[in-house]
């Protein structure tokens, strides 16, 4: 179940990573190889198996729904590449 350059371009867009045209072919080969290799899982019959998302399912617990943290605007903005008046700033998205 190998993939083509068009699919690589699509997932690069979904992942928001710019991949130069020149790298498409190499990446298609590498990703195809990885995907072919993981496809061996199809040998395993899992028709009666529940998926396991995490090993800690037995100790996940509820907590009270209350605010326990906050009021840290300066801390949160401390590493922002661009900020103004207590907000993150980004390039203009509407005209």
């Amino acid at each position: 179940m190998s993939i083509d350059a068009k699919t690589v371009a699509k997932i690069a867009h979904l992942a928001r990573i710019k991949v130069p045209e020149a790298e498409h072919q190499q990446l298609t080969g590498e990703l195809g190889k990885i995907l072919d290799w993981i496809a061996q899982l199809n040998e395993v019959d899992t028709s009666k198996v529940e998926p396991l998302a995490n090993c800690n399912d037995e100790f996940l617990r509820w907590r009270e729904d209350k605010v326990t943290d906050g009021g840290k605007v300066d801390d949160i903005l401390a590493n922002a590449p661009a900020k103004t008046a207590g907000f993150f700033t980004v390039p203009k998205v509407i005209e």
């Binding site: 867009h13 979904l14 990885i34």
Partner: protein, 493 residues
Amino acid sequence: MSKLTDLSITEALAGLAAKKFSAVELAAAHITAVEKTRPLKALVTETPEIARKQAKESDARRAQGSAGALDGIPFAIKDLFCTKGVRTTASSKILENFVPTYESTVTQKLFDAGIVMLGKACNDEFGFGTANVNTPYGPVISPWSGTDPGAANRKLVPGGSSGGSAAIVAARAAMAATGTDTGGSSRQPASFTGIVGMKPTYGRCSRWGIIAFASSLDQAGLLTRSVADMALTLREMSGFDPKDSTSADKPVPDFTQAIGQSAKGLRIGIPKEYRVAGMNADIDGTWRKGEAMLKAAGAEIVEISLPHTKYALPVYYIIAPAEASSNLARYDGVRYGLRVPGESLSDMYANTRAAGFTKEARRRILVGTYVLSAGYYDAYYLKAQKVRRLIRNDFDEALKKCDALLAPIAPSTAFAIGEKQDDPVQMYLEDIYTVSLNLAGLPGIAVPVGLGSDGLPIGLQLIGRAFDESTLFRAASALEKEASFTHKPPFTA
């Protein structure tokens, strides 16, 4: 008296208590050692001023009689742990100038116990690798060179992803270092550098403040030079944390009690599927030696089966990239880290992420995005989660028949920088013995057992039941005693 930098943590604590030397002197010796080991590129950021200040405070506490369990012990911290006010890069360009405004729970606990921080240790970017070459701050170089012809001119990898942590501890420039372990990242570098490495049970340590790679697999790890040092340090960094919903609200036993206890009566399982045709003779030989050592120490050896072993790697290389692609979505150039301008907001994201991540990180994000994308989720991600359950069931069954498993860690000894880098699948095969226990959430400890015919260290791992690290420490301390591995790398501080 031996050099201060050669002492174990246990010996150093005794020396500090007996006033043979001060924490300030211990820190000074290690700061000099860090400078001497700079060619290894083990640290991304050195923090000698912090170390001197913390050492002075440690001496004051000891004078007042309020010293903590690790007071004055010089540590390196893997650069995936957020340290308040100290640059934390994840060894990635995308976080080159990131200075956390908060402290990770694990480092806070270690600071509360009195450790002295020498610096932030290099790793494969975000933990993506087994050779510590996938980072703009490396490659980290092993202090070992081996005895093969031309070995002296060959630079070896320290393993990864906690390669900087392993190199600095093995080179005697830090007494211990934190690591993380998502698929072997603490155990494999420990094996490559002849030291002790550990991955505790999932949920034993808080993941709060550890930069996330794959949240259902990530766990704090640790690298030390003895099993006793490991038991003491792990005790101090473990415990429930309300800030991490996956941390376990269970009491932390005093792991040090298990050290030196007899292995008599322990049942040690040998997973038969791990012994494969064409296996490296040194690895197989060391594994058989380890088995004989535990038997000599009084343990009973039983053969067990983990039928789904061959599927662990493909399961891991679906789940880990899937979770990584989701976790790394946060690096978008908006809230922290690198920003590369673009014509639009979307363009800015794509430019930032192209410039900020290494090739391997980009590859894993793309694989993860693909296996989670519409139309492929069931075929890959859900399928992997189902096989993951079968893998865990295998361990549950096996650990009914024995108290711990003994297994190899890596398929070979350390390889040279530059090797195995052309083919991602070949590099992924390095993880064949280590990823299973992450998928099953179990604890594992790597103990150095011998040298291969190339003069390079080989460790073995013991794998235990969830939250039963004490039994692991009992078996590991017996194995350590029988193996009496005293080899040191040719390059030390």
